[in-house]
Symmetry: C2
Amino acid sequence: LEKYKIAVIPGDGIGTEVIAEGVKVLEKIAHIDGSFAFSFDYFPWGCEYYCKTGKVMDDDGLERLSKFDAIYLGAVGAPNVPDHISLRDLLIKIRQGFDQYVNLRPVKLLAGAPCPIKNINREDINMVVIRENSEGEYAGAGDWLYKGKEQEVVLQTSVFSRKGTERIIRYAYELARHENKTITSISKGNALNYSMVFWDEVFSEVGKEYPDVKQYTYLVDAAAMFFVKDPARFQVVVTSNLFGDILTDLGAAIAGGMGLAAGANINPEKKYPSMFEPIHGSAPDIAGKGIANPMASIWSAAQMLEFFGKKEWSNKIIRAIEKVLTEKTVLTADFGGKASTKAVGEEIIRQLSLLC
Amino acid sequence: LEKYKIAVIPGDGIGTEVIAEGVKVLEKIAHIDGSFAFSFDYFPWGCEYYCKTGKVMDDDGLERLSKFDAIYLGAVGAPNVPDHISLRDLLIKIRQGFDQYVNLRPVKLLAGAPCPIKNINREDINMVVIRENSEGEYAGAGDWLYKGKEQEVVLQTSVFSRKGTERIIRYAYELARHENKTITSISKGNALNYSMVFWDEVFSEVGKEYPDVKQYTYLVDAAAMFFVKDPARFQVVVTSNLFGDILTDLGAAIAGGMGLAAGANINPEKKYPSMFEPIHGSAPDIAGKGIANPMASIWSAAQMLEFFGKKEWSNKIIRAIEKVLTEKTVLTADFGGKASTKAVGEEIIRQLSLLC
Ligand SMILES: CC(C)[C@H](C(=O)O)[C@@H](O)C(=O)O
Ligand SMILES: CC(C)[C@H](C(=O)O)[C@@H](O)C(=O)O
């Protein structure tokens, strides 16, 4: 029996609610399959923890997490804790501390998912965004000078290393080659005269090793426009940390909403655990009501299974979600339904069983 | 007779084609009105000029432009000149050199304009984006270390000064108050732990002076999503240079396309000339064919008239554009028509005359 040790960080708000459903799905699959099993260890970190202890995550947090095969995270953030504390000290700390330099986010319009854009065929929205996840604009470097004075000035420095830039671009090229897809690099060299000129250079340099992969480049502003106007242009997308952040939320908007947006933070070398988390936040406005959509977190669990080499199970989960979306009888409020988080979780499990 | 001295920089590609129509509209209006007149001086700067002279703009360019009441610019950029040269040495140089710190871009769905989003009422898309235009991510500060070595690292530093941040936010508050609208600040404090935390502080600080203005804040990723999902949330939007760049292209996408996206680069103190330019680029793919849509550049000319205190004329131009859009008989290819740039320009002038 293969054993996978999962660290669960439900986090805040709806994070706890949606993660519970994802865990049930994983357990169900292990049960049906029989050849592997999960153990789940829970970590109470997040904003509530911060209010009690003054820390969002324990000081030895990374060390403790390093023992696990994967991290499954709900969402972090609460109105009473500044975001730059709760997020940087937990989410971003794990991403960077564990060198999860690949943030892989599917932007795919599932069967049955609503699309807000006119004249779109389902196949037109089917990309994977590979977001740099360890440095760039999120390096956290900067300075705040002359605080409170007239000449006050604040600096925020993006850091793009050769290593960091090359490896993410290479990862995307490999994926594009492997899946026989085009690659599109999204940057902003016409204005960001150091970082993005460098990014563009690396993209074209590495690209020479992949003459078989069709290569495109877009400015981030134009890309944002085309995500709406003509998303079929994009297949494998590779971009910086900040641009990936913006574009994947936009991607979520065109591909059915935040309730369906999954994400994986991967350390491809498996030197450290990877982390799977829906893109959505803790949604304080609906937290505690049991009405959040668990599909994104369940899809993230599917990404975890794929990462463990269980692609068939990953596909089955996605098909089960599509079934639930298509039948439309058990949906949460974001999709116009009245079902609870739990009910949707159960319905996905029921559909999963039917597929087996 | 009031006299306005306009410096015209048609630039590259379709820039020259669309600017010609805007100039005709301005001349027509001066002619009908009779109380003011324009003089137009042309500057051949841009990529062609660069290929001949090694400069995108003459060294004394800013000095020469400083004598004018306004600058009217088409578009800059050509495939054979690196964008970070052509843009930084002309467009960005003028914006920053003339302290045009307000980039004002309407995102408004005109009557007759196509909207790619389902279930949108025309009134739902009616915002003004106030983009910081003089510093921030576009400061151009950075470094490129260990070039070609394994430890190569590239830094790009955003610079947010107290003065620069306060004045743009104040401008937006004044506009919101004056037009009785809500204000929304778009930032990213949860990840950009210096610059955007500062931005958020200034927004809330200055906001104390405007208790009568309803104030909202969005993270840039969430904002991108809501531009598609629920644009009616936004009225006056204030944001940084880079975020404004991305969001206004996205804004163009939801409000009828780049063919309709106008912009003004304003130095509110009128110490330096302001610059009016459509948001779209030089579009090398359709350049020289005479089929580009001149509506964006004509709308930018309307912004110039408003800046000169001729709001009625500005409104009339927009109404004339709406007429052409609604009648649908003379439209360029981007709107499914077969008309030339010139024909659309002439039709707008014809509709203008009918309105007088
Ligand atoms: C919460 C925030 C720090 C995070 C990010 O910006 O990366 C989120 O928006 C995301 O996309 O995962
Ligand atoms: C051409 C480019 C430098 C410019 C910008 O990024 O500001 C353009 O995209 C714009 O929005 O005016």
